[in-house]
Symmetry: C2
Subunit: 153 residues, 2 copies
DNA sequence: TATTGTTATACTCTATAACTATA
DNA sequence: TATAGTTATAGAGTATAACAATA
């Protein structure tokens, strides 16, 4: 996003009713977090997107590219280039689907797992900093509400 | 975002630990909301961004373009074209800053106020649908936590 | 006929730097 | 010298359609 502001106090304009607009609050918090996350992931050659795919490739769930696209809310064609990138770096591999030979399962290599472990630790640190104003219970509650809004619809 | 999915049940991949990743949850909920919001705003010739500016232009706070850029986490150059667009549609006007003649204050026209009222009603409806799984107290708590994370840092 | 992955293309959004006018 | 607004441009991200292989 344009300005990687670190709003450290409530700005004057937050008094407008749009200061309670869920869409804007989500956009701002997400944008601020993305800057932190992508900066932290740079040393591993990753971005938020590729990290998400790597995580799922490490999960043991054996996701197909189609599942990745659905879950990450990305277009299948975007998954192709992201997986290409990870595969080029030796972090994941494409395996043939067991039941459906059209489908390709994305699995992490041993090196991918090592990179993921380190990258994940860096992101946990980012999340701590981003949500520093919230205590442990509040962080849990925030996650619960976000998950509920997304998946209990 | 790629696929404007309407996740109506928790997908298989949500079991991975990334299903609790705040960054991903924020991205997904924000993206899903943007699709709804922009679709609803289309009939008014607005998008999320231009609606935000129109709202602040209606607020009585007399924001300068610089303040809009800071508050909306957008680059000043992006504000220029968004305000151009709104001004071209007759919804806002640029007024000279009172203390600083460099600064330009963005204020809504009477027509801008009328459009804003109608657009806002449409967005309230979108927010209701997007957060349908949450009760009133949970919506308030979600907003409180988001605001706190952003501005109590 | 429908779906998975792929490629290609056009479009929007974002980031950056330079310029002007005021301060 | 610094700041508000503007302009221009390159890059990243997104949306869309078409195609081959498989179901």
């Amino acid at each position: 996003m344009g300005t990687q502001d670190t709003d450290v106090e409530e700005p004057r304009l937050a008094a407008a009713d749009i200061g309670s607009d869920v869409g804007l609050l989500l956009a701002k918090l997400h944008a601020a977090g993305s800057v932190l996350n992508n900066r932290a992931l740079k040393e591993f050659g990753l971005k938020e997107r590729s990290f998400s795919i790597l995580t799922l490739a490490c999960s043991g769930l054996e996701p197909t590219q189609r599942e990745l696209a659905d879950f990450l809310s990305l277009d299948p064609s975007q998954i192709v280039s992201l997986v290409d990138e990870l595969e080029g770096g030796g972090l994941v591999e494409r395996a043939a689907g067991k039941l459906d030979r059209r489908a390709k399962i994305v699995v992490a290599t041993p090196e991918g797992r090592k990179t993921h472990t380190k990258a994940r630790a860096a992101l946990v640190e980012c999340e701590h900093r981003q949500l520093a104003a919230l205590d442990g219970a509040e962080v849990s509650e925030l996650k619960r509400l976000l998950r509920k809004a997304l998946w209990d619809a």
